[in-house]
Symmetry: C2
Subunit: 396 residues, 2 copies
């Protein structure tokens, strides 16, 4: 019986609140806080209608540590779930340290002024969380998150040695707009336009943005073009999977999506450097964001499915083995259940399960943890129960 | 021996000033005026270097009739050449009427707040110019302009009846940018994204933007995709060519250009309705213009040629006849001669020749005139001398 404070009332925050509300035996009280109170009110209303439960709401500017500290002191949660912007991770971790409360997030810290993300900033909090006997669980979404747990599961149950991992993320959803991003366009476009990077034989190999692709035959979805990208779980998995030779991440994009992205880059609309316009500085990417459909508006109109999984290759009992562990999620089913499509759903459910692991004592420890460092079994069990069932297929 | 006042110091204005300066026996004195004096200074300097001639310069806001009137009174020209924005045509015509000076332009009036252009507004000045004994020559560029003269030439020398006219405008220039417009992006994109329209059997037929295309085998350039568009000379030619059955206008666009345009439209970047952004109204198309390369910067880097012509079909001596009258112009040669590429050159040279026709008395009359209403012979002769030689090819 524990109270949680959830910060962030975007698409993922909304899923997390709905899913926590479905498990009152673990999440006895829920407080949702955001910069924009009206977003919290909408979620509060939806949760009441769908589950009959009342949740508390509050306004907070998560960039302001003192304000977050005051909120935590007032709410008295056992755990803070951070579903705000990646720019705010460190501020919320600081507030947790100051108030002595455990921490969980779904995406690693990214400085607001450069398109660069890595775990260093958050791993540097290791000793401070350890000293205080607090636990910080990093990246408890789908990718990172479930993909890390899939790797831990493969290592525990299926392989003696893992040599190659390919993480594959496909979204075959159709929202009917010529172009829109599934989450915050600013974060999305910064991610997609960044250089690709993968890890091989102990070193990182950098590639031009979207320059390497393969056609991958996804279960249920069929063949899709998947592009090599850097993704944050590569950093921790390359460190934590012993004996690994190579790990890569692939995401599918339609030709139409890439065409739009190419043109917007060509004309400078994806730039994050200010441009002078009518005597004032304007950041092109932020103006583009203002023109594009609000990702929250895509939920009711998105059809189709996602498939995200890990293709793992290595040795078992001295013989080569290859398998694919994955989940398939349906946009319309997610929307019916919690009022959000699969992109938010697949990130929000694992955040709820990660919180459940911490609050029920299945996952405990002092310090900063990535998902693959903890026992995958209880987490994998809950995935099947709470809406993200997994399948494992032996390929060779 | 006459003095002219040239208003507008963009790409076309610059060509007109250079070309007029090459013919001192007609253009004995030249004054160039613009909202931005520094642009005039640059052209003044270039004209001095290239021709040794001194021209006068002045600052004027052509939207302000009183200011333009004061300038005309001070400069005392025989003719005002309007090479400013199409939004300003009526203001400058008003100033000419008030001061009793002849008028010439290259593009018809377009209201600033809607993507629509037609001659009605300017034809409505007919009686006022007539009463004052003044002449206004409309559309003395290439298209409109030379294309109208080609039609008059065909009617005078090659056909007893003209039934079909197709005007074809190809630009096979390459500026090396992924996307840029050859003249003011705002005007260019408004024109290209407008509905297509052609005239057949006495009525106008409207088509979805860029929905009708043909591959046309241009002389020198070879086959290019040409798209049916509305273009202003169709309006006057449909009225002035007796017995005409159909007239259409086609412009070539590369697949790459169209891809960029489609995406920019899809995301709303070509919109002319203001969008609220950070508490202020921003017109997306104007912000896009600020991001794109300045058309003036394309001159030194554009290679390749343009080809613009009229395919005319009808009867001569009772037999069917078909011919193509055209000009081919080279971007780099234009740049060497006057410091501008072929798009500005092909518009600016006919403006100079039109002015020459008026000042030398070859073309005279009181009222508002389109080019095809006047004798084509002296104009066609000057095209060959002043940089836009024409070719006529009998096709059938």
């Amino acid at each position: 019986m524990s109270k949680v404070l959830i910060i962030g009332a975007g698409g993922v925050g909304s899923v997390v609140v709905h899913k926590c509300a479905q498990v009152p035996e673990v999440f006895s009280e829920i407080c949702l806080a955001s910069r924009t109170l009206s977003r919290c009110e909408n979620i509060q209303k939806s949760v009441k209608e769908r589950t009959g439960r009342d949740i508390e709401i509050a306004r907070v500017d998560a960039d302001n540590v003192a304000e977050t500290v005051a909120l935590i002191k007032r709410v008295q949660p056992k755990l803070v779930l951070n579903l705000a912007l990646p720019y705010q991770d460190l501020h919320i971790m600081d507030a947790c340290l100051e108030t002595g409360v455990d921490y969980l997030d779904t995406a690693n810290y990214e400085p607001p002024d450069e398109a660069k993300f890595c775990y260093k900033w958050q791993w540097d909090y290791q000793s401070r969380f350890k000293e205080k006997g607090l636990m910080a669980l990093l990246g408890s979404g789908f990718d990172p998150g479930v993909t890390n747990v899939y790797c831990a599961h493969a290592a525990k149950h299926h392989f003696d040695e893992i040599h190659y991992v390919d993480i594959l993320d496909a979204n075959a959803g159709d929202h009917g707009h010529p172009f829109a991003t599934n989450f915050n366009p600013e974060i999305n476009i910064r991610e997609v336009t960044a250089k690709g990077k993968y890890w091989e034989n102990g070193t990182w190999v950098e590639t031009a943005p979207l320059s390497i692709k393969q056609s991958y035959d996804f279960p249920v979805l069929g063949p899709k073009n998947a592009y090599l990208m850097y993704h944050e779980e590569l950093e921790s998995l390359a460190k934590n999977i012993k004996g690994l030779k190579r790990i890569r991440f692939w995401m599918t994009f339609s030709d139409n999506y890439l065409k739009h992205l190419e043109v917007l880059q060509n004309v400078g609309m994806t730039g994050i450097e200010p441009v002078m316009f009518e005597g004032r500085e304007i950041i092109p990417l932020q103006f583009l964001k203002a023109l594009l459909p609000d990702p929250a508006s895509l939920g009711p109109r998105t059809k189709g499915k996602t498939c995200i999984g890990c293709e793992v290759e290595g040795l078992k009992d001295g013989k080569p083995k290859k398998m694919f562990i994955y989940n398939v999620c349906d946009h319309e089913e997610c929307y019916r259940e919690v009022g959000s499509q699969a992109i938010s759903y697949t990130t929000g459910v694992p955040a709820m399960i990660g919180a459940m692991m911490m609050l029920t004592g299945k996952w405990r420890g002092a310090g900063v943890f990535n998902m693959e460092e903890l026992d995958p079994d209880p987490f994998m069990e809950k995935l099947n129960i709470h809406g993200l069932p997994w399948v494992e297929k032996v390929l060779a």
